[in-house]
Symmetry: C2
Subunit: 242 residues, 2 copies
DNA sequence: GGTTTCTGTTGACGCGGATCAATTCCTGCG
DNA sequence: CGCAGGAATTGATCCGCGTCAACAGAAACC
């Protein structure tokens, strides 16, 4: 991979910024920085996740998608800051795509360095396992959503997730910029894009949601939204920026 | 937890048996046995996964289900021998149920002992991460199945999975005993049980499948089954007993 | 062995959401 | 500023699969 001067400069700024972040938030991870290469990703930038590498999301959003480019595509997982991404097994690697859905900072480590860091430090090991466990819980909840919820309930769940990760409370209502396009949300929820559009319009008509631009959303009534989604409590518990 | 004499006896036999297994298959895990308590589980035995414990499946099958008992239940994950199960986050724990779907041997460790074992041994750490990564890949494939496949394709995928884990090849065809009931399969595939029954009958009528009893299945034509399922290659790659 | 109860099968029917097509709305670009 | 191309909306239509109900078969219990 070649690195331009501009990219190198961005990496530098990213590195200093995230170091401060780490010191206050996750001291365990700070011990990984020594072996990590910091990368800054543009919006919609596809990422080549090489075998035997581990990525750690520092800011932004990374989407993991599965399937051929075209109609039958699925957004399998959405990664938020703090998430740990290991290269998929070889048998799946060819069908997986990773994309940064927003400007993101990530650390990249070799699997060896990552393993060594875990083996050498009990607190790092404990932190990593706990984090992976949280990600597993989110993925399981995702399955539960797809399996048990109607399309409207799924959309409500997604809005709660986005609000939890990206939202800023503003006197009872929560605003955020949705980083996923309509098509991408549909791929995440296993929904037809047209159906999704209808449901969003319905939410706006009902007054639980407002759109100031195509990507700027405001949840006007969180409780009404929660009432639309059976497992809202679990969704909000697992998807809060904290 | 009280342990009867009979249970203690079973634990003893289980322990010696699995130790031999470990020595030949997964030397990394053998180093965990010292801190593990071996348990034998009956078919359909529910498991209480206490906070801060880690379970390792040695034989049999453990199902993780989510949702209230009753209609809207989802089988979120199926664990096979070698799998590592960490207690779910508190916010999800109340809605999760773990059940042994077949006679199973499992190891139980405290999270502390597990973390310590990883931190003390680089090979254990590497093994655990690789295993967790395989489980993540399976879960992602599960999502992809639910999102992208029709009900018939999903059933085909499940049969390929079961054949891979439990099947014994027998001259071109593969036989196995299905540990899940019709209802449970339906919960795993996010399918109506009646619809599942229809699809199974269709497979039998087409000749790709044969039933010698309620639970004894034989896939008569693996290739025909693979033709029914778009991502059959990935399914078989990730679900093979090896 | 016979009754009860649980599990699976099959048909008829209806609904939720996918599909297709037409239109409108953004956004970038000359 | 106006045009072009893509993204989102919305209506009309269709079909896969869920739902309900009636029945059949297996296991369980006395």
């Amino acid at each position: 991979m070649t690195i331009t001067v501009a990219q190198a400069a961005m990496r530098q700024t990213a590195k200093t910024a995230t170091l401060a972040l780490v010191a206050s938030e996750t001291p365990e991870l700070a011990r990984l920085t020594a072996h990590a290469q910091t990368l800054r990703l543009r919006r919609r930038q596809p990422i080549a996740i090489a075998p035997d590498t581990v990525w750690i999301v520092r800011s932004g959003i990374i989407a993991a998608e599965h399937g051929a480019t075209g109609s039958e595509r699925t957004m399998v997982e959405v990664h938020y800051p703090g998430d740990i991404i290991a290269a998929p097994p070889a048998s799946l690697a060819a069908m997986m795509t990773y994309t940064s859905m927003a400007p993101s900072d990530v650390w990249r480590l070799t699997a060896n360095a990552f393993n060594a860091a875990m083996a050498g430090d009990a607190e790092v090991a404990s932190y990593v396992l706990q984090r992976l466990n949280l990600q597993r819980a989110r993925t399981q909840l995702h399955i539960s959503m797809l399996a048990a919820l109607s399309s409207e309930q799924r959309v409500a769940a997604l809005l709660l997730q986005a609000a939890g990760h990206l939202g800023t409370a503003h006197g009872g209502s929560v605003s955020f910029e949705m980083p996923l396009s309509r098509t991408e949300v549909a791929e995440y929820l296993a929904l037809n894009a047209d159906t999704l559009s209808r449901i969003m319009s319905r939410f706006v008509r009902e007054g639980v949601l407002a759109r100031s631009s195509r990507t700027q959303l405001t949840v006007r009534d969180i409780d009404a939204l929660k009432a639309h989604c059976p497992m809202s409590d679990a969704v909000m518990a697992l998807h809060s920026a904290r």
